[in-house]
Amino acid sequence: MHDLVATSPLGGPRPRTGNFGSVVISECPGWALASVAARRGKEKTMATSAKKLLGFALPGVSSLANNGTYTAFWTGPDQWMIEAPHASHEDLAEQIKSALGDKASVTEQNDGWARFDLTGTGCHDVLERLCNANTRAMQTGAVTRTRLEHLGCFVICRAKNDHFSVIGPRSSAGSIHHALTTAAKSAL
């Protein structure tokens, strides 16, 4: 077991959380991510193998599917991002690659992204100051890619109206966090 200490995307030893009244904004580094793209001609067999591994069928366009451990969301034609707890699945990409073999290209994305969760009744009021995703219309499990603070981000509706994830490029975690908290102070 190695002895290197991880830092969160915001650079701290522990994830940062801020309460802004009707919204709590939390840094969520505890998630492993792996991108999965079906190899050409193997889209169907890959989907079957993925279902076996995940316990649910890979979701369709702009949506998310999950069970207790895994969450999968669509990112493009025959492409998904799989999410699982980092503590138990740090080697998520490797696990998926073993299960899918040459049916898929799998890439570790654990640390390519920074995830911030917004919870509370004021989520829409904050997000509408940041991106053009129509969050009010998003049902639980809806996912979209949008520009936020000039950056391409995923916005995921974990629970309708009051739980959203913003997943953006990790190197700009500070800028994204600044944008989120500034908007929260402004809007709430």
Binding site: T7, S8, G11, R40, N110, P169, S171, G174, S186
Partner: protein, 985 residues
Amino acid sequence: MTQINRLDGGQVNRGTTLNFSFDGKRYQGHAGDTLASALLANDVRLMGRSFKYHRPRGVLASGSEEPNALVELRSGNRQEPNTRATTVELFDGLEAKSQNRWPSLKFDAMAINDRFSNFLTAGFYYKTFMWPAAFWEKIYEPIIRKAAGLGSLSLQDDPDEYDKGFLHCDVLIVGGGPAGLAAALTAGRAGAQVIIADEDFAFGGRLNAETFAIGDQSGADWAATTVTELQALENVRCMSRTTIIGAFDHGICGAIERVSDHVATPASGKVRQILWRIYGKKTLLCAGAIERPIAFENNDRPGIMLAGAMRAYANRWAATPAQQVSVFTNNDDGHRTAIDLIAKGVNVAAVIDTRADAPRLADCELLAGAQVIDTSGRLGLKFVNIRLADGSKRFIECGALGVSGGWNPNVHMTCHQRGRPVWNERLAAFVPGGDLPVGLSVAGAANGEFSTAAALKAGSTQAAAALRDLGMTARAIRLPNAEDEGVNLAPFWFVKHGKGRAWLDQQNDVTVKDVKLAHQENFKSVEHLKRYTTLGMATDQGKTSNMGGLAIMAELAGKTIPEVGTTIYRPPYSPVAMGVLAGRARGKEFHPVRETPSHKWATEQGASFVETGNWLRAQWFPKPGETHWRESVDREVRAVRGSVGVCDVTTLGKIDVQGTDAATFLNRVYANAFAKLPVGKTRYGLMLREDGIAMDDGTTARLAEDQFVMTTTTANAVAVYRHMEFVHQCLWPDLDVQLISTTESWAQYAVAGPNSRKLLQKIVDPEFDISNEGFEFMACRKITVCGGLRARLFRISFSGELAFEIAVPTRYGDALIRRIMEAGREFDAVAYGTEALGVMRIEKGHAAGNELNGTTTALNLGMGRMVSKKKDSIGSSLSEREGLNLPDALALVGFKPTNNNDKVTAGGHLMARDGPVDAAHDQGYVTSAAHSPILNSSIGIGFLKDGANRMGECMRLVSPLTGTEVEIEVVSAHFVDPEGERLRA
């Protein structure tokens, strides 16, 4: 004496008294007042000076169409020029100043311009100030700009913050008057997502300004009740103080919400304004109508205003501009002003109606068939001079005159996508044409449906129609009874009398005569008329003046008004602060920042950072005692070449390329061969653009048969990824390739120098052999470090030394740099920044962004033979173009000064030792230069014609711009270790 012109009633809250100042003098008003209404209540009619002639001016209107009453609002860094007093909501402590006057509003020395009006007619500056030509920019223009102008800027940073946001709805309703409110009720009750926006702070539009009843309520009360119902609906968003500024592409509208303009300063953390982008599936324009004046001689005196504005001040704001007023009209609606003001106890001297058969509607003297031919009163109206129906003249004393020439539907937004309005003879006005912006429909007065009942009905009907288009059903709502009078008007645009000036556009000081002059000088097209006279320009965009100009031009040209046409309306509908367009993209927040995994550690080391793209990279790491950056950089270079150094290279783009055709794909993207690169090896690759010019370079490692990791330059990471997606998706979609960026997933450090292996052996887990035999130059491997952390190791070198690049998951990047530096202590390891990196690559003759500058080819870079002819690749064919392969083509070479004290400067051009210094004799240029601490000399690399064959030649390096001229010698670009022995050690 305060508020002597305050009337009874109105919708101001007398319980709240607000103090404010105008030109330093203190006044009081009430909550619900605008600056204009409060000033009128305090008997202040003179509010500004005109643009060109510095004529005394007061309010013309009561809304955002106001051309005259422009003030500088607030002070210090919040001072804002050209603010319309009619839209400024009064708040306690408000400070306003008049503008464009000196030394004071009442005595303005620049009013001398008015005496020279014969010389200052339309287009005067096109005809005068012709000689000498050089004087225009330096002397004439500055003087004219100083004399003619509006407010002044604070020249300080705006202290306020602004947001930008995005809203979505089924129906956006523009305007909260009777039509808009009825539409919102209809759509809101039907469950549609509705946004209703109004520029005013109170919903109701003209309902607040008129005395009509709606059902058994006053218009204002009905509006308030309706808004209360709407606000209770979750699906309706009521946005007051919000101006829809334009109908943009695809049915998207822009809006400015003034969040904090009605308070002295925004609350902490809150913005002043928000720029909203509204995605409405349907937009319903209920923007009402704007009254138009009649032009007559001296019709610009303070106190002369639109009749509708006069009764708005009386009814809504309980203020009258004077105790005795008159009305000048060509239609029945003007009479309402007299009726309402009489009801408020104001003395109405007469209603002057141009129509001979004018009805007597108000309980005061009616002068039918009469016209106002002149006025008097230096700083405010005192008398109007009237020509009666029988031709006799009569003076009437009054302090204010309400003028009505009819109403123009507010078609502005219907034309934002180049739609043209159409003429309606009955209304003598333009109404919306058929070619409307996507998703837009129009209801109420904006559509020429002027009566309250018609507006309510149209709003409701159009909202239902919009919902029907969206597949939703709206049940009809019960509409209350309301006023339903028709328009009774005889078109009348200007009084033909006398030689004095009759003002059309009060903001730009354009007179009837100016339009005649434009016509006389053949500026007859309506667009030429606008540019020549400036009619309809500036902050009000001619909302009250354009029609008058068109009517006069029509008469002069012997055409009808629709034949003359209108100028195009463009967004924004009303002026927008620059700050809100910038939003939060200001100063340090102009763009997002990208931080490297070692950023925190580098900050602790006191590193100096440089922006490369959005990345902040450490430039150098100063040590105590170092007083100049060169000392730090020289030390870092010597340490790397002498022992070992560490540099964060995470910023280089990393693209994961997988798939059974990954090798084939790379073989087509790169000019050199990649198909046979063995697993566990890395290769330098050069990528060409389609036109054969070098695009980017980097190393690509083969981690498996079907997996490569490509490295790009920092600056081109995104462009290369985009290019590869294009190649994959559009050129060869049949290849089995999957691409994804992994730039930020891995923290990557270059560990370079003769002791780099020894250092890394302390980090890399012992089961991995990284000796020269076990891990030769250009090898790559998945390894573990520090007791089991997955990592990647590459044996590649940019510095020319024995070097490695080691990558770990980014979350461990901070820990790893600390661990490496600790492990390197015994070797005096240093951290080095981008400057030392740059020095070392110049010493080694490696090309970088300065050399791959978008004009150079592989041949120029000395890599012509890398473009494989055994295969096809992007850019390969066009790189064979004759012009790119001339015998004396530029070639990458090195330079050092003949005199060691001289400096090689990047950007300088190369000329023969003797002969002229000009473009025709240009031999090439220096792209990169640095001081080499190893050679103890300034060195450079760059491109020289036929450079490979000119080693040892002495040339002049010149920069005519900076006066530089240095003698240099052409040498190999490989200054250090040209044989590459070190990096293979």
